[in-house]
């Protein structure tokens, strides 16, 4: 039952994990994305955060911004949650689960920088969050229109009846993933990287990249 078409863009499926009708799977393409997310999550778990250094002009002094204590724990937790949500999104075999995981990545990204006390970072996080909430409308809308038009949300079933997914639903889902953090809306996010605490902050970028790669695969499969 669970077989992708021979010409599927991600390659043949390697492993299928059915939870009832929600079927997660790996293809050579998604397993690469999964391993990348896993590696970054492990880096977030085991590495220590960077110490950002600011030069004080006119003197030979520097300021070190350290991430310590509760702040460190919270950000590490949110970064790990972001990694897990990313892994969920790249292995998901269900359109709606994918959109939920994408939204979860957005929440985790806000969480990673939420405890930073710099005003410009909080400002950027707020603006990013507004776009991220608004982009759940096309995401869920696209999934709902798919369900209404084809009667299923499973990527397997959609791949079997291949061009069934309406183009408007595809467009909406791509716009939604864009809003969660790729190209035209990326400006709202770029400022977030100026927050100190490197491996956790980098997770923001990695997750968006993987979301983008995965949504391309889904849109070419269904």
């Amino acid at each position: 039952m669970f077989e992708l078409a021979a010409g599927a863009v991600g390659g043949q499926e390697l492993f299928v994990l059915p939870f009832g009708d929600i079927v997660n799977y790996f293809t050579p393409y998604t397993i690469a994305l999964f391993l990348f997310a896993l590696a970054f999550t492990l880096i977030c778990i085991f590495s220590k955060p960077e110490k950002q250094l600011d030069v004080a002009f006119g003197t030979d002094a520097i300021y070190a911004k350290e991430v310590t204590g509760k702040d460190l724990h919270f950000r590490r937790f949110m970064a790990i949650a972001c990694g897990v949500a990313t892994m969920g999104a790249v292995t998901s075999g269900d359109i709606f689960n994918f959109t939920l995981f994408v939204s979860m990545v957005g929440v985790c990204i806000i969480g990673i920088v939420a405890s930073v006390k710099y005003k410009h970072v909080l400002n950027a996080a707020f603006n990013y969050g507004i776009i991220s909430i608004l982009s759940t409308i096309p995401l869920f809308g696209g999934a709902a229109i798919t369900l209404a038009a084809t009667g299923t949300l499973s990527i397997w079933e959609l791949a079997a009846i291949a061009p069934a997914m309406p183009w408007i639903a595809k467009a909406l889902i791509i716009i939604g993933v864009m809003g969660e953090g790729i190209a035209p809306f990326y400006a709202a996010k770029a400022e977030l990287f100026r927050a100190p605490g490197a491996p956790y902050v980098i997770m923001i970028h990695v997750s968006s990249l993987l979301m983008f790669l995965r949504v391309v695969e889904i849109m070419l499969t269904v």
Partner: protein, 199 residues
């Protein structure tokens, strides 16, 4: 049927367009936050238009994600604006020292007899009343921990149903007790929503 769906979809999309236009024009940040939440409601409406059991099952996760995003953003807004709650003198009268314990015991006992979700709600009401009558120096982290463990037991009960169906009675008891503790502890947190450091 498809006709009605199309009409509904057009109405929802018009609502979405109005929301987006408002989000573009609005400059006040707190208003933008509320407008974004309104957009979330429009997204739920689009899901609800499908009007099947599956759509119903999709609304709850959609709602949860929307609320968690709204809460995260509100927290960021509060931190950025440096807003904190004003400290108010709590309202004290004599009956608040004696009555809550008695009423809470009755409600909690009745809730435990009922068990399950309903029992949790009844017992939770008792605990809310108790906490509202008390100065808030209780250990809220403990309540949260109880709630977390209760949730784990609830999930374990579901695994029992799926993996070992012959132990269904044990699973029912576990789920009933766990959801009682979970709903009670979650509802009791409502009684503590009066500001203060440890909330």
């Amino acid at each position: 049927m498809m006709e009605e769906y199309t009409i509904g979809l057009i109405v929802a999309l018009v609502a979405v367009i109005i929301t987006f236009a408002a989000a573009v024009w609005e400059k006040n940040d707190i208003h933008r936050l509320i407008i974004a939440d309104l957009g979330e409601v429009a997204a739920l409406a689009i899901i609800a238009l499908v009007a099947t059991d599956l759509a119903e099952a999709l609304i709850i996760p959609g709602l949860v994600v929307g609320i968690s995003e709204l809460m995260a953003l509100s927290e960021i807004y509060l931190v950025r604006e440096g807003l904190s709650r004003p400290v108010k003198q709590p309202f004290r009268i004599e009956v608040l020292d004696t009555a809550p314990a008695i009423i809470a015991v009755i409600l909690v006992a009745y809730g435990i007899v009922l068990s399950g979700f309903t029992g949790g709600a009844v017992a939770g009401t008792g605990v809310i009343f108790y906490l509202m009558g008390k100065p808030h120096a209780e250990r809220f982290a403990l309540i949260e921990t109880v709630s977390g463990f209760a949730w784990v037991f609830w999930i374990v009960a579901f695994f029992i149903f799926m993996i070992m169906p012959e132990y269904w009675f044990f699973g029912v008891m576990l789920a009933g007790g766990a959801i009682l503790a979970k709903v009670t502890s979650k509802m009791s947190l409502v009684g503590t929503m009066r500001g203060g450091n440890n909330v």
